[in-house]
């Protein structure tokens, strides 16, 4: 099972689409590893530099409709190849969300108010999130202190994360 702890990459935007996460020209790769250098290459976000800002980050926080657009699972894979295993947002596109859990990764939805608080309180600062899957709690911390937030993920999605993906589950059950 993957872990969901570490430094946060704040992407203060809604509707970040899968073409921005991994442009289509890289979909000719037949190995996930090859996607690693291109994550968020085309992201439209003022001040964001993918060559600098992604380094050593393991959790993304964003606004709503994250991962809209193409069905490409290359989007979660590009995150995975950069050791980013969790995206926290106020909403997800259906396919991206399901792709994340299918890969044993987490796409966690928080209400817009909480997301707004995270951006206002922690955005632009060195921030760490630790995740407790058993009690469904995040702890968010910076040099000034820490806060804890509950989150919800369905039992089934959690089971897939713990199992490491959907293929083995489906092959066993259907």
């Amino acid at each position: 099972m993957k872990t969901f702890n570490g430094r946060v990459l704040f992407l203060d935007r809604s509707d970040i689409n899968t073409d921005e996460i991994i442009p289509a020209k890289y979909l000719t790769e037949s190995a996930k590893e090859a996607l690693q250098p291109y994550l968020l290459e085309d992201l439209s976000l003022s001040g964001f530099d993918p060559t600098v800002d992604i380094k050593d980050r393991t959790i993304v926080v964003a606004r709503t409709n994250f991962g809209c657009g193409s069905s490409r699972e290359h989007a979660p894979w590009a995150f995975e190849m950069n050791n980013i295993n969790m995206v926290i947002a106020s909403g997800f596109a259906r396919i991206f969300r399901q792709n994340m859990f299918n890969c044993g990764m987490m796409a966690v939805e928080l209400d817009p108010g909480t997301i707004d608080h995270l951006f206002k309180r922690y955005g632009g600062k060195e921030t760490v999130i630790t995740t407790d899957l058993d009690s469904m709690l995040f702890t968010v911390s910076d040099d000034k202190g820490a806060e804890t937030f509950p989150f919800q993920v369905s039992d089934f999605d959690l089971a897939i994360v713990r199992a490491g993906g959907w293929v083995d589950y489906a092959d066993k059950h259907y």
Partner: protein, 433 residues
């Protein structure tokens, strides 16, 4: 309690109900292309599970980059080709017989009312035009679909989109769906099925309904869907005539997937299109839509007519009717890509291809290439494309490029004008296509 189309299809296909309103449904068809399928194939092989649940229910095509442009795309094609051969997948469309997936699979009669379909491609929602539940999925879901013939979804809620009024000449299904996305936004239908209905949809051809359903995902929808009717039966008749004694009998059977009068919808959008004018996008999101009249004169470098949204025969006819005896502006280049070999061949027979060529268009083979900036029409940094495709995301047709989405009529008029232009100026209202 009454049921929506999607609820009726799910009821007929449920294999398992999991916690949290998640259901596993059996699949009638799994569609595959060479971009998202090879990694699923490779993973199945690595797991020692290189099997398919039913080769007759798997349809595959090479369409995104074809003919292959380099060694990597050649390998993707080869992986799909070898796999289709290995598993005796008869409906595999290789170079020469291949077309854009969401155009060729309906054309071959692979979609039926009441079907459940997945594909590793977000515009799979197109096939809902036939009264099917058709959803784009990622590679892992596709892999499980190939292996076991199942997929899991949240129990779908539906948004009812009731379209009334009469479209003015020069206003098309593309303008209707762009205006719907403008109203509800790029996540206005997330996790829901958009069920299109009303007199405007009833009068639409299957091609127009496919254009409508194709862009449902641009509002976040899981599937677009239209109730099957005699238009559906007429389109499918050559494929189903041995299954039913008459068209009326087919229609009656397909009525099983008509929505109930008291079906419950999560939302309802009622719109009257009588005053609708041609629409075009202006930003990097498909809900950034304006009337063409407000965008006239916008500089463009390239015009593209094609794709799973608007590369069908009707689209080519409309564009060609505006281009006859005209030339494109010397300020622009223009590309047309008929979406399937059948469409290409019929466009040749009807003289449409000659009209495009005489006007100065480059005519390419059927492919998705330019729409997502993979091949045959990639933009340079700072360039602008007037396009009949479905996505205007930043960099979609090439890094640093801008895409304006529009109907084939608006694209053809813009090619002649050399700037974004309403097709109205090129014909009398009386003889509109």
């Amino acid at each position: 309690m009454g049921q929506t189309i999607a609820e009726k299809i799910f009821k007929a296909h449920t294999v398992d109900s999991l916690a949290g309103g998640i259901v596993v449904i059996g699949l009638d068809a799994v569609f595959c292309h060479e971009i998202t399928t090879p990694i699923a194939i490779n993973d199945l092989m690595a797991r020692g599970k290189d099997r398919v649940f039913d080769p007759s229910k798997i349809k595959a095509v090479i369409d995104h980059v074809t003919p292959a442009k380099d060694s990597k795309t050649a390998l993707q094609g080869k992986t799909l080709r070898d796999w289709a051969q290995r598993h005796n997948i008869k409906d595999f469309f290789d170079i020469g017989r291949n077309g854009v997936c969401h155009a060729i699979f309906p054309e071959k009669g692979f979609v039926r009312p009441g079907y459940t379909i997945i594909m590793g491609d977000s515009h799979t929602c197109t096939h809902g035009a036939f009264g099917a539940f058709a959803a784009g999925v990622g590679t892992t879901d596709l892999e499980v679909g190939i292996l076991k013939g199942v997929c899991r979804f949240k129990t779908p809620q539906s948004m009812k989109v009731a379209i009334s009024g009469k479209l003015e000449p020069g206003v098309y299904a593309k303008d209707v769906i762009l205006s719907i996305i403008k109203i509800i936004g790029v996540n206005g239908a997330t996790d829901r099925v958009m069920e299109f209905s009303g007199p405007v949809v009833d009068r639409m051809t299957m091609e127009e309904r496919m254009t409508l359903c194709n862009m449902a995902v641009e509002a976040g929808a899981t599937s677009g869907i239209c109730a099957p009717d005699m238009v559906t039966v007429d389109y499918l008749w050559e494929f189903i005539k041995d299954d039913f004694p008459s068209k009326q009998a087919a229609l009656e059977a397909y009525q099983a997937f008509a929505p109930d009068g008291d079906a419950v919808y999560s939302d309802t959008l009622e719109m009257d299109v009588a005053a609708l004018t041609p629409q075009v996008t202006f930003g990097y999101k498909p809900d950034q839509v304006r009337p063409v009249s407000e965008m006239e004169g916008t500089k463009i470098d390239q015009v593209y007519i094609g794709s799973c949204t608007n590369g069908r025969l009707e689209d080519l006819r409309i564009a060609a009717s505006l281009l006859e005896d005209k030339c494109i502006s010397p300020k622009v280049r223009a590309i047309v890509s008929p979406a399937t070999p059948e469409i290409f061949s019929r466009a040749l027979d009807e003289g449409l291809i000659k009209i495009f060529m005489d006007a100065g268009f480059c005519v390419t083979n059927p492919t998705c290439g330019a729409c997502l900036g993979m091949s045959t029409g990639v933009l340079a940094n700072g360039e602008v494309c007037a396009s009949t495709t479905n996505r205007n995301f930043n960099g979609r047709m090439g890094k640093g490029g801008m895409v304006h989405l529009m109907s084939p009529a608006t694209a053809a008029a813009s090619a002649v004008a050399g700037v974004i232009m309403n097709s109205e100026i090129f014909c009398d209202k009386g003889d509109r296509p």
